[in-house]
Symmetry: C2
Subunit: 197 residues, 2 copies
DNA sequence: CCGAAATAATAGCGAGTCAAAACTAATTTG
DNA sequence: CAAATTAGTTTTGACTCGCTATTATTTCGG
């Protein structure tokens, strides 16, 4: 009756619903909705090529218009800053403000998750990451959306020296910490999907 | 910068957002929102002790009032049926109507997920189920809510013979298929959390 | 080099979710 | 048998979300 893949979907849905409720609790003091917390977490993790409203819309699987309204509120609260792109003046770039970073530090929206995950070994977490990443990749393949992975598992990321990396897609240098942020254009290296890391 | 547990949370959130968008597509013909699809899927999976509005509210991590409205809509569309409990006349029992079952069969809301999961071996799926179940259990421990597992992994489920099981919590007989449905009062047997199945 | 198509983002609108609190009805407790 | 508890509904108001323009900028074709 209940096949294992369905059970897995059920667990993913339930965990997401739980985190959604947790985000609601965390945001309620500041009058923020769960979607606003998700947006702030996205901005905290994303690299400098993907910090646009469009990317956020793809990440959240929602529309540009909806995202625009969420950003409006975050801007009014002073939690984010918007600035124009130097080259293409249509695109708006986003970053967390100092206030936004402080808010994430204090409220720690993923605290409940982190506490719960402490009971699971690092190996088991890594293994599950690999499985879920494969599923996400497959779903995005059918769906057209970008997978949003980190640079250090991307085919375009080349290591030049100890500290210097280079992105062959955007043609720019990357620092070490930057290769651990998530990117809209990421294409996973083979070996990061079917096998564990 | 990005620890693995955080990456896992990110994946869970993103997969859930994707499924949410998928549920929206699936439900749009019938004018159903994602939450309504989730409710229908819940009713398709739940055992006869847990098919109440209250249980659904706990499952979705939302409030009774919100669930009440969702059920109102599903009832109006003829997708579910409500009936009073024999013993406690305050409680309302829910079941899918024939129309509701037909809708799930035709639209198959988890089709995208199932297709994507075909690329992952059964072993890896089972392993991930075990990991996510542990995390869910830990989060519920802190949160107070019930974990909602299947009877066949529950301490109260006793096997009487080949085909007959017995629930020591509700004190009733269970058929074989029933032990594979999810229950509100489930308490996982040791061994189903820390180890794989 | 100029007009048309494409792209990024915003604005306005209306339907509908959602939480909170008040309320009803049935059950349990003391 | 009254008080407290529990399951569920109703009401209200805030806010999300998808949809459809609209604006601004860039790219493409001739």
């Amino acid at each position: 009756m209940l096949k294992n893949p369905v059970v897995l979907l059920d667990l993913v849905d339930r965990l997401a619903n739980l985190m959604r409720a947790e985000f609601r609790r965390v945001g309620s003091e500041e009058g923020l909705q769960p979607v606003h917390i998700q947006a702030l977490l996205f901005l905290a993790q994303v690299n400098r090529f993907s910090n646009t409203p469009q990317a956020l819309a793809e990440y959240l699987d929602t529309t540009k218009g909806t995202v625009s309204q969420s950003l409006l509120l975050l801007d009014r609260r002073g939690l984010i800053e918007r600035y124009q792109d130097e080259i293409d003046r249509r695109v708006v770039r986003l970053r967390l403000s100092a206030l936004g970073e402080a808010f994430l530090d204090e409220s720690n929206p993923s605290g409940l998750w982190q506490t719960a995950t402490r009971e699971v070994s690092a190996n088991r977490v890594r293994y599950s990451v690999s499985v879920l990443r494969t599923i996400l990749y497959e779903m995005q393949n059918q769906n057209g959306g970008p997978p949003f992975g980190t640079c250090n598992t991307c085919v375009y990321c080349q290591r030049k020296s100890q500290r210097i990396h280079h992105c062959a897609w955007f043609g720019e240098r990357l620092s070490g910490p930057e290769t651990r942020k998530i990117c809209r254009e990421q294409v996973p290296k083979s070996g990061y999907l079917t096998a564990g890391e």
